[in-house]
């Protein structure tokens, strides 16, 4: 009989407590060890097991006992080494012998706080349901009374503007000999406006992303602009960008972000005199949809030599950005000053706009910005936005959905007749279920001037494993099995930047076709259908009522 001590495993978890259970097929496994080597969490390990087999070969029972020691792959129940379900093991297994399976009965959140440290992770909100955006469809189909357009052959202009737009009444025009001309001299300041593709790559920092991932995205963006003539822009995230890029002509395809840690800005300020061109815009990050109220966080593991140089900090230390800008004490005062200071730094040639978390107070922010003639837009990041590192509670429970936030803001602008003056950029959960074009078009018709995507790009361009069943989502610990969010060369060398760039281009080309397939049947081609809410309906009456659009069933 086994001793009581050996039977009592009361201090241990069972695999049934964990979110993913690794199913391993002994009969297929050839014990090559690839799965255990590749597992980023060390959740599986090679182990030995003693087997006691009882057999009888005679006509009457004559049991024989055989003892065997076998090599197995065993899943650990250590909560710090839980299986994330990433599936790297399946990917490398030559014999299809291993696979993590989601365990709906798990009690992961009951246990993932050893040492009193709450669960932190990357990714986005763990809510696998369809988002509000996925309940929207385009129902105003041009039929007979108004010819629909041919998405394949018609000329479409899918562009938007970033930057403060003067109301037509304030444009410094005068009529001379039957023609309009610009008034010279002390005429009205005309703020800078960029014409860009309405879907941009959202803020993901060098640091949060691996060098290969960031390089791939940047190359893809440059290709789209230079070869495909699609003015797609990309936001840098906090922490600056590589110095060589900063001084190159490609800088015009990038939106530089300044956030509460001001990381990277020493280098940027120093580079200004040597810049070959202006950046597309400056984004001042005040909030992030994935973790409202939290600042950025780059774990020490990710602060390598390159990152430390770009950010101007020592190597190997945690880089937390404060939850808020330390100088921010009022939107009227310090935010206005910050916008103006950034505008001034770039000679008032670059649009400057704040980014905030989705919030019920977004309209208050919006109306303050409206009164600031230098504010070049407002980016709102909804609750389903992604992040490289955040507390799980922030990710899962904090924030505001983007759909109603952007709709409220647009309608507020429209009531004041200023819907064309301050572009709204919508982000957070766009393309969560893969419907990037549909989600983006829906947001535009709800009133967004542009849409920003981050998580979708990682998933589509680099095969990010992360999903809303908490698969993988270990971006925060520098162990990304795809090499997307790590600074470990052994991991990021898995990612070929050329392939990422190719995928970025493919994604945007496909997106462009899909947007045309949406806009064409609506009869829209000449301008982006911003606020064309008559084209939208929801399949949920409450959503329809809240967004002030039609309901269909």
């Amino acid at each position: 009989m086994e001793s009581a001590v050996r039977l009592d495993h009361n201090h241990e978890l069972t695999v049934k407590d964990l979110p993913y259970i690794v199913t391993w097929r002994e009969d297929r496994c050839k014990r090559c060890g690839r799965c255990t080597a590749v597992c980023p969490m060390h959740a599986i390990e090679p182990s030995v097991m003693v087997r006691r087999e009882i057999s009888s070969e005679d006509a009457s029972p004559s049991p024989k006992v055989t003892r065997k020691t076998v090599v197995v792959v065993r899943q650990t129940t250590d909560i710090e080494r839980y299986c994330t379900g990433c599936g790297s093991c399946t990917l490398v297994c030559p014999n299809d012998a291993i696979e993590p399976v989601f365990n709906p009965q798990h009690k992961f959140l009951f246990h993932k706080n050893p040492g009193g440290h709450p669960y932190r992770r990357g990714g986005r909100r763990n809510d696998p349901r369809e988002s509000t955006l996925d309940h929207l469809k385009f129902t105003r189909i041009s039929m007979l009374t108004d010819p629909a357009l041919d998405a394949g052959r018609h000329e479409f202009r899918i562009r938007t503007y970033l930057g403060r737009i003067l109301p037509p009444e304030e444009m410094p025009f005068r009529v001379k000999e039957g023609k309009l001309e610009l008034m010279s001299g002390n005429s009205r300041f005309v703020p800078p406006v960029r014409e860009i593709y309405p879907v941009m790559i959202g803020s993901m920092s060098v640091g949060a992303l691996s060098p290969t991932m960031w390089e791939g995205l940047a190359m893809g963006v440059a290709y789209l602009n230079e070869v495909d003539r699609m003015p797609v822009v990309m936001a840098s995230g906090e922490g600056g960008i590589p110095p060589r890029l900063l001084k190159s002509r490609f800088i015009k395809y990038f939106i530089l972000q300044i956030a509460s840690g001001y990381f990277g800005w020493d280098e940027i300020i120093r580079a200004i005199p040597d810049m070959a061109d202006d950046p597309c815009a400056i984004e001042i990050k005040y909030g992030q949809g994935a973790k409202p109220g939290d600042g950025g966080l780059l774990m020490a593991e990710k602060v390598t030599k390159l990152i430390s140089e770009i950010r101007g900090v020592p190597q190997g230390v945690d880089l937390p950005s404060p939850p808020t800008h330390q100088t921010k004490y009022s939107i009227e005062e310090s935010v206005a000053k910050m916008i103006q200071a950034m505008s001034m730094a770039f000679g008032f040639r670059v649009p400057v706009f704040p980014k905030i978390s989705g919030t019920r107070t977004a309209r208050a922010v919006l109306n303050n910005l409206l009164r600031n003639p230098y504010a070049g837009g407002l980016s709102i990041d909804g609750e389903e936005g992604g992040t490289g590192a955040a507390y799980n509670v922030s990710l899962d429970k904090m924030g505001h959905p983007i759909a109603s936030n952007i709709r409220d803001c647009y309608l507020d602008l429209a009531r004041q007749g200023r819907q064309n003056e301050l572009p709204l950029i919508a982000a957070g959960g766009v393309g969560k279920k893969g419907g990037l074009a549909a989600n983006a078009a829906a947001l535009i018709m709800l009133g967004a001037s542009a849409v920003s995507v981050g998580k979708y790009m990682m998933q589509a361009a680099a095969g990010c494993f992360g999903d809303e069943m908490n698969r993988c989502n270990v971006c925060n610990i520098g162990k990304c099995p795809r090499g997307i969010t790590t600074q470990d060369p052994r991991l990021y060398r898995r990612l070929d930047p050329e392939k990422v760039a190719e995928r970025v281009v493919e994604v945007f080309r496909a997106l462009d076709v899909e947007l045309k397939k949406i806009f064409a049947p609506l009869g829209r081609s000449t301008e982006l259908p911003i606020g064309m809410s008559d084209a939208l309906c929801a399949d949920d009456a409450d959503i329809a009522q809240r967004l002030q659009i039609g309901y269909v069933c």
């Binding site: 105003r140 041009s142 009374t145 108004d146 010819p147 357009l149 000329e155 202009r157 503007y161 737009i165 003067l166 109301p167 037509p168 009444e169 444009m171 025009f173 009529v175 039957g178 023609k179 309009l180 001309e181 610009l182 005309v190 406006v193 014409e195 429209a414 009531r415 004041q416 007749g417 200023r418 819907q419 064309n420 609506l522 009869g523 829209r524 081609s525 000449t526 301008e527 259908p529 911003i530 606020g531 064309m532 809410s533 008559d534």
Partner: protein, 375 residues
Amino acid sequence: MCRLAAITSNEYLNPMECIGALETMHEGHDGSGMGLILKNLGGELAEFFDYPVLSGICSKDGLYTLEEYLFHAGFRLKHQWRPALKPVKGIKRRDHYFAKVYDYPEEYEDRSQEEKEELLLQTRLTLRRMGEENGSITVFSFYPDIVTIKEVGDPLQLGEFFGLTDSRLKAKIIFAQGRQNTNYDINLYACHPFFVQGFGSMTNGENTAFVPIREFLASRGFAGYSGYDSDSEVFTHILHYAVKKLGYPLHYYKDVITPLGEDDLARREDSEVLSLMRVALRPLCIDGPNVIIGFTPDGSCFMVHDAKKLRPGVVGGVRGRVGLVSEECGLESMVPERESAKGIFPMKYDMVIVSPGAQEVRVWNQLYGWTTIMN
């Protein structure tokens, strides 16, 4: 799609000239309405060119309410034209059709034109609101030297119904539309041509960008940008906004509603202005297919298309008499003496502008500038 016939002339014409043109395009309208705007009035209204004319339809009760309101607002009736109605099968007669000429309230005698126009606009909108709920009052325009007639029915039958053949109602500019209703309910307020403060236009086609344009116009803080029972009403209001509110020369209307693409724009001398205009007026960019025929307070008439209008309208005529129509057969009816080979079919970048009195026809091309076709 609706059928459109407009004529501009240096002499007074009977509105039946346009209605006759609509009849030649009969296959394109379904009797769901006809709208007529007469500008630069002749006949019995000629001498009152300086006084505002209220055009509309009333029930008996509505007429009493309307007259009471106008009287108390200080307007004094100077003259009124009422059609000599003839019963026509299929046309449902309403109580009162009228074009009433008023004198301004005394306190407005020395007021500016702007103030007078504001008063007329507010009065029209108030009357519309007063009669909208029970349908007792329908008012189409309240402006000097303009008469508007609208009713449901076949244009030719309506011409007979209103007795327009032998009417003394004449004008130098006549706009007529035969409706092919695509706005669900038949509503007189949805019937073209539309009018605001001296600017009028009618359209055929659909405007799929209607909602964002409506939201932009309705939030300009100008009471006249309202109504919108038809998606085409925005074309009139964009015209008013661009020319009157923003002070742009008329041909920039084309650049507002169908701005050039970036490459084309760079070739224009005024490209800097156009770039800024395209950004600032982005919500007014239309998405058709549309042909728009319009007029401005000085009596200039124009025709313009968007790029999606595959079958253009046509402008043609002789000096002193020019027609602007959606189908060429209409032109044949209105100006048979013209050289048909010289008809102008405006294309993607064109805007045809006919000067007051039809003395000159010029084509404004967004890429190549002006061409004078007739002077």
